[in-house]
């Protein structure tokens, strides 16, 4: 139990008041000369049973009455807010709402989603607890926004459902920055989330930093988690994995590959009707779902000859989560994949050019130009999909040009120069070559994502067969994608706001590695980077909600999707948008589908050392999390007083004894 006015509990020693008064009364006795001592002596010898019990009961009733009064004015709360939720009114309350699609799951037998339930519960609870200032941190921008009152949470666009994933550590960091910047007094942070692994990124290195940062606040920060970890069993999701337009003899057709997944718990075999909608024309196909996931490969949808580009939607019937039942896609003729190679090593350049210019599909146009580092001024950057840089890292104007290219979504792979310089790009720099690593093998690599991910059939790339003879050291902050023996990075990714740049620690020249001679890995790596870069250049583009990747959302115009979304929030809402002549399809991140919830111990571990409490709720729950129960104590006090009055009531007067 917790209290809204806990300082009033300091008056609890007053419970002993009846005892103190009793003791004082005992000391203030009167002395009287008494004749009928024989009756007093006889009374003393009698059993004191009921009389003493009555005295104790009266005393207990008085103490209970005082205790009831003190507890009542301390405004006790009941509910699951684990102990210390209540307390004196905080100066600032910061709300972190997880608006990710998984939060739109509804509970069994209710149409209310986790997000709606969480908002209502928080509004009701925090209204009771009160605060001087309310701050909502929006999940997509991680920007704090002050609310006029807690009721505004129910209508705030910043707490509406979104298609983008949430970055809980980022939101916490924003909360930390807000507290630090505003020098808030006692602050409480309330997180409403379904604790999905992808939103919480529990393995990330930011949590340790966050814990240390919050512990530094002298005023103390309390963290509360309102969790909705229970998944909706049998919830299905649909996701388009690939869309291709290809010509046929009498026109064109669209090849759509998709996958249908479902949450754990739905293990029975079922047929899921998948509906395609392109330009208002609908078609339907049933996908047999016999496990957690079913794929449909290259489903053909005929298109008109003149239909070069367009958009469509794939949807499945409504289930527990409406946010993952639709997927938007765009299609257009593939854009040319043009790579720019800046190389100082003549032996490495041909391999790079070869890998970039051989198209994996006859329908694709691939090309690659090789220039010297000083020839950047003449480059038509708007046509370049991939930059491969084998030279000292760019500096000055070159660096600016490369950075601008990357900011608009272009991909870049950096290879070490013959002689590493002290030049830095994206805070990373080459250190020095380590020669004679004697054909060091690759120890590990990231097969789950990025350039070295497994193939669509699940087969791993033969990265382990690569031989690296010379490798250059890399310093800076990066995420290794492949690591050589001795923990030296072979391929690393340096994050930027619109994607990232790749650093390969060796070159494809035969003297340095077998990248060129054993070309499968290198070819896949280059083509994947090229495809990613070319995706930005085409007249259509698939975007992950929350990531604009160089696009300017201010120019977007909605063609399909959530109608209530305000234009500034288009990038976080799924749908199809038009930006100039380009079509953009925005969809939820892949990790949102079927992401497991974090284990309780892991969540507790993330907040270890912090003032943290957690309560689990379920979607659609109507019971209040917190409730004031002072009336109960007041009633107890009244009952105690009535009991005391009853016990103190004198017995009916006996008939007076007169002379007989």
């Amino acid at each position: 139990m917790s209290f809204l006015q806990p300082f009033l509990l300091a008056a609890l020693p007053l419970i002993a008041l009846p005892i103190v008064i009793h003791l004082i009364n005992q000391r203030r006795y009167q002395t009287v000369r008494w004749a009928a001592m024989m009756f007093l002596l006889a009374a003393n010898k009698m059993s004191r049973g009921y009389a003493r019990l009555r005295q104790y009961l009266i005393m207990a009733a008085r103490m209970l009455a005082i205790a009831g009064l003190i507890f009542a004015i301390s405004r006790p709360l009941t509910g699951g807010w684990l102990g210390r939720a209540g307390g004196s009114r905080p100066e600032t309350t910061i709300l972190l709402m997880d608006r990710s699609p998984s939060m739109q799951e509804s509970g069994r037998g209710t149409g209310e989603s986790k997000l709606e339930t969480g908002r209502k519960q928080l509004a009701a609870t925090l209204k009771t607890l009160g605060s001087a200032r309310w701050v909502l941190i929006e999940s997509n921008t991680n920007k704090p926004r002050e609310l006029e009152s807690i009721d505004a949470l129910l209508n705030s666009p910043g707490a509406e459902p979104a298609s983008a994933a949430s970055d809980i550590p980022g939101m916490l960091m924003a909360a930390h920055d807000y507290i630090k910047a505003n020098k808030s007094g006692r602050t409480e942070i309330w997180i409403c989330s379904d604790i999905r692994e992808n939103d919480w990124n529990a393995d990330g290195g930011r949590w340790q930093t966050l814990r240390d940062a919050f512990l530094e606040f002298p005023q103390g920060v309390r963290l509360h988690l309102l969790a909705y970890p229970k998944p909706a069993p049998g919830n299905r999701s649909v996701r388009v994995t690939e869309v291709r337009r290809q010509k046929t003899g009498d026109g064109a057709e669209l090849l759509v590959s998709l996958s249908v997944g479902r949450e754990a718990g739905g293990e029975t075999k079922e047929s899921v009707p998948v509906q395609f909608e392109i330009d208002g024309a609908r078609s339907e196909v049933a996908v047999e779902l016999n496990g957690p996931r079913a794929d449909l490969k290259d489903y053909r949808i005929p298109l008109g000859k003149a239909r070069e580009r367009g958009w469509g939607r794939v949807s499945i019937p409504a289930d527990a989560n409406l946010a993952d039942n639709d997927y938007w896609f765009t299609f257009s003729p593939p854009s040319p994949r043009h790579a720019l190679i800046v190389a100082e090593d003549p032996q490495a350049a041909p391999a790079l050019q070869l890998a970039a210019s051989i198209a994996p599909d006859p329908a694709l146009q691939c090309s690659a130009d090789v220039i010297a580092p000083d020839g950047l001024a003449t480059v038509e950057w708007e046509k370049v999909a991939l930059l491969m840089w084998q030279a000292p890292l760019p500096e000055g104007e070159s660096a600016k040009a490369v950075r601008a290219f990357m900011d608009r979504g272009g991909q870049a792979i950096f290879f070490p120069p013959k002689t590493p310089t002290k030049a830095e790009f994206l805070r990373a720099s080459w250190t020095e070559w380590v020669h004679g690593t004697a054909e060091a093998a690759v120890e590990s690599w990231r097969g789950d994502q990025d350039l070295l991910a497994n193939t669509q059939s699940g087969t791993a790339l033969p990265v382990g067969q690569l031989q690296v003879r010379n490798a250059c050291g890399l310093s800076g902050e990066f995420t290794p994608l492949a690591v050589l023996k001795g923990n030296a990075p072979l391929l690393a990714r340096v994050a930027t706001t619109t994607g990232g740049a790749y650093f390969c620690a060796t070159t494809p020249s035969p003297g340095d590695s077998s990248l060129a001679t054993n070309g499968v890995v290198f070819y896949v790596l280059v083509q994947r980077a090229l495809a990613a870069g070319a995706a930005v250049l085409g007249s259509t583009r698939q975007l992950v909600a929350g990531e604009t990747s160089g696009e300017n959302p201010a120019r977007w115009k909605r063609l399909a999707g959530m109608e209530q979304a305000v234009s500034s929030d288009y990038p976080i809402h799924g749908g199809v948008y038009q930006s100039g002549e380009r079509l953009l399809a925005v969809n939820r991140p892949a990790a949102e589908d079927g992401a497991p919830a974090l284990a309780d111990r892991r969540v507790a571990g993330l907040f270890k050392g912090l003032d943290f409490s957690r309560v689990d709720d379920s979607a659609g729950s109507s019971g209040s999390l917190i409730q004031e129960v002072w009336r109960l104590f007041l009633a107890a006090m009244m009952v105690a007083m009535m009991a005391e009055a009853g016990l103190c009531m004198p017995k009916p007067a006996r008939p007076s004894r007169t002379a007989s």
Partner: protein, 303 residues
């Protein structure tokens, strides 16, 4: 009657004059010295016929009933009831507990008033009056006499009676039962703070000695009601140990003990044939005495 005219605090002339209308009767035949208004166990010369009996030589020929001789040709002596005076012995408890009084009047003062009034009444109708003060034993004793000067002596004794010491009423009553000549009216004025079963013996002893025993059991209203509010330390007026008590806590048990005592005492006095009067000392003693006198008139005993 009051030769020195000294005012006595326990004497109220108006009350005495009103009480003079009520005679004091004995419930049993009394043995007196002179003729009086009380029945005697012996034959005498009153106007009330008692019986005939055969003449035996030596009888006074004046008492021979000649008419009976004329009818039956036998000699019969005609006998009449004898009326005598009584010896009234007042037994006044002067133990320490008699000093208690919560309403301005102590039990000893109340007892003095009753004793003085009864003494005056008895002497007025020619009865002998005596007084015994008892505490640890018989402290002071005045044998019954019937001359008016004796009343003054008794009043002096009443005035001088100081309540002190513990009550040893039972041995004192046994002693008085033996020392007072048979067939007397004994009036006990006491708070009787003795176990009823202990009193039973001395009451039986007094009855065995053919005394007519009347008891005024004096109790203070506070002793009956025990209406204390604050914690009290009770000091024994007879020198016993003091007791600390919380009245709220002990009142029930006190009342229970008191009720048991009164019930037991009532049983004892009924079984011993005592003329028992329980008196709360806030009552008017005149009314108490009127009730007592009227009651005795109704119960006026045979011979």
């Amino acid at each position: 009657m009051f030769s020195d005219r000294r005012p006595r605090s326990f004497l109220e002339p108006l009350v005495l004059s009103r009480l003079a209308n009520f005679p004091l009767f004995a419930r049993k035949p009394m043995l007196g010295n002179v003729s009086g208004r009380h029945p005697s166990p012996h034959r005498g010369s009153s106007v009330e016929f008692a019986e005939y009996r055969k003449y035996v030589p030596g009888d006074d020929l004046r008492r021979l009933d000649w008419r009976a001789y004329g009818r039956s040709d036998k000699h019969f002596i005609k006998e009449f009831e004898a009326d005598t005076n009584l010896r009234c012995c007042l037994v006044l408890d002067t133990s320490g507990s008699m000093e208690f009084g919560s309403g301005g009047v102590t039990k000893i003062e109340y007892a003095r008033k009753i004793a003085a009034a009864l003494g005056h009444l008895a002497l007025q109708q020619g009865d002998a009056i005596g007084l015994s003060c008892v505490a640890k034993g018989v402290v002071r004793s005045l044998p019954p006499r019937r001359n008016p000067a004796h009343l003054s002596t008794m009043f002096d004794l009443l005035e001088q009676a100081k309540p002190q010491g513990e009550t040893r009423l039972v041995p004192a009553l046994h002693e008085l039962a033996e020392t007072i000549r048979q067939r007397a009216l004994i009036v006990i004025i006491s708070d009787l703070f003795v176990e009823p079963e202990e009193l039973r013996g001395c009451f039986e002893h007094l009855r065995f000695r053919r005394h007519d025993v009347a008891i005024f059991h004096l109790l203070d209203p506070r002793e009956l009601n025990f209406n204390f509010r604050r914690p009290m330390r009770f000091l024994d007026m007879e020198g016993g140990p003091s007791i600390f008590a919380e009245p709220n806590e002990i009142a029930d048990r006190y009342q229970k003990a008191l009720g048991g005592y009164l019930e037991g005492l009532k049983q004892v006095v009924l079984e011993s044939g005592m003329d028992y009067h329980r008196v709360s000392i806030d009552e008017d003693y005149e009314q108490v005495l009127i009730r007592f006198l009227v009651g005795r008139t109704r119960a006026k005993g045979g011979r």
